[in-house]
Every structure is written in C-alpha cells, then in structure tokens.
Subunit: 147 residues, 2 copies
Amino acid sequence: MQDGLTFRALCAEHGIAVTHQRQVLYETMQGMHGHPSPEEVYASVKQRIPSISLATVYKNIHLFVQSGVLRELSMHHGTLRVEMNKDPHHHLVCSVCKRVTDVEHDELGFDRLGGDEPRMRLASGFVVERVSVDVIGVCSACQAQAN
Amino acid sequence: MQDGLTFRALCAEHGIAVTHQRQVLYETMQGMHGHPSPEEVYASVKQRIPSISLATVYKNIHLFVQSGVLRELSMHHGTLRVEMNKDPHHHLVCSVCKRVTDVEHDELGFDRLGGDEPRMRLASGFVVERVSVDVIGVCSACQAQAN
DNA sequence: CTGATTGCAAACGGTTTGCAGGCTT
DNA sequence: AAGCCTGCAAACCGTTTGCAATCAG
C-alpha cells in the first residue's frame, strides 16, 4: 500500500519514529477536512484503534506540527485546531456559531476591506464585521535569545 | 469626578446597571495597555477592591463586550484577551514567546506579503513566518436563523 | 538492548456555574 | 420591593504530565 510507504518516508524525512498509532493518526487526519479539534481527531482514530488514548493524540499532533509533518495550526475558539487545507487561504469566523470556513485570498477583495466599510457582504453571504490579521513570526527579543 | 459621569452615561447608554466593581473594573481596564488577560485585570482591580472575585471579573468582561462597552476581543494563546487599542491595527504574534504586539496597518506592507516571500523582516525586527487573516462576521446560516 | 512511545490516571489552568446574601433601581 | 449583582466554592473542559509497561530501531 502506497500510503504506508509515503508515511514511512515522511517520518524518515522529519526524523521521527514510525508507530502504528502515528500512522493511523496521520491517515485519519489526512482524511478529515476543515479544522478538526483533538477531540474530533481522537473520536475518529478510535474507530480504528479503540484503545488509543487522548494523550497520545495530543502528543502526536504536537509532534507532527513541531517536526513539520503537519502544515500549520491555529488557535480558534479556545481549542487547538489543526489546519488541513494546504492551499493558501484565510478564515471566515462566524461570530454567532463560531464555525470557521476557508476562503481563498481572491474572494476577500482586500482592496475594499480594512477601510471604512465594515458591513460588506462576501459572495458566500457572509457579512463581514471586522478583519483581524495576525502576523506570526519571531520577535527581535526572541531572535536575540536564540543564540 | 468626570470619570464617574462618563461611566454612568456609558452604562445608561448600553442598558446595564452601575455597580462599584463595574466602575472600578472599567477604569482599571482603560488604564491598561496591550491585551490584558482576565487574570491580569483581576490582579490590577484587586488593588482597589481586594475582596473582588475572579468570577465577577469574567462576568463583567463578558458583559462589557456583549453590550458593546468594550470594543472587541481576541482569542490568543488560548486565553481570553481584551483589546484596549481602539485604533485600527493588527497583531504581531511571536511564535516563541507568544507575546502579542500591535502594528499599524501601514507598517505591514501587505503588497509585499502573502505572496511567496515568507521570511520578510519588519521594521521592528520581527521576522514574519506567516500571515493569518481572520474575517469575523455572521455566516449566512446564522443570518437565516436570526429571524 | 536502549531509549522512545504508549495508555492510564491524576494534575492542571483557565473559565463557568449554582447559590445565598447584598446592592441597584 | 423585585431582581440583578456579588463572592464563594465547586464543577467543568481542554490540555499536560508522571509513570510503568510496551514497542521501534
């Protein structure tokens, strides 16, 4: 099965050990769309490995992210979320139901946003209240400490 | 004292009752800069009302935000943060120390970001890893339900 | 064989809730 | 007087940790 080979290669590439739970975890997550929470991932993986523990899910999600196996992750509505969409995109966060939906960069029309028209409506029907931009990186203080 | 008048007016305007702890809470928060967490606000308010409880701080922060007395709030590093900066701005989040710093829109130079140069450095020395844009608003499903 | 990884259970930190007494309107 | 607001303590939820047994390299 080629998935097996792929995962072995991935692990070798990133210098982490191949365990059964890691492989199943990885495959399961690849099959999930959106922004699954650890609990959701756990529930899904449990179908294939009923004995797996939530702690293992957490440990390995962190490992995947640290080692670069998983692309990125974002903190939304207070729980850890993993980003499954590998294409460049942004997020629509509903202030009522808190659901997070992806949008392509182009659909946003940034040239019209950010100014003085807070109530614009996107093609999807989403009414924009405000735009929050987070620039993630390393501050100069932490760069200095890194030596 | 004019602060008292201002706060009374604010409460009337937003239809909430005036209590001593609310007033002190509000004044204290106005005097804080950055993105204080409830614990930080609590510690600060405690200096003027030693008997205040953390639960009251939480309840009132939520009330302030709900009723519009406080401008906006953002969820960063998993804890509730209140936005004290009323000017339009964005956030620099350090991926190492997690500290959040404000940036004016202009300093970001969006025209150069978002493309294929992930490692640009801002004037402040902050090295950009990625940009995360959240568009907050109401999705069409929730608009339909609001009737 | 040695060290990393697992599963469990207990600890943890931030947040919320139920309740009895006190305060605002 | 009626009801909202407070402070306390317990509950809660998502996440982390310590540990002994097990597994990968």
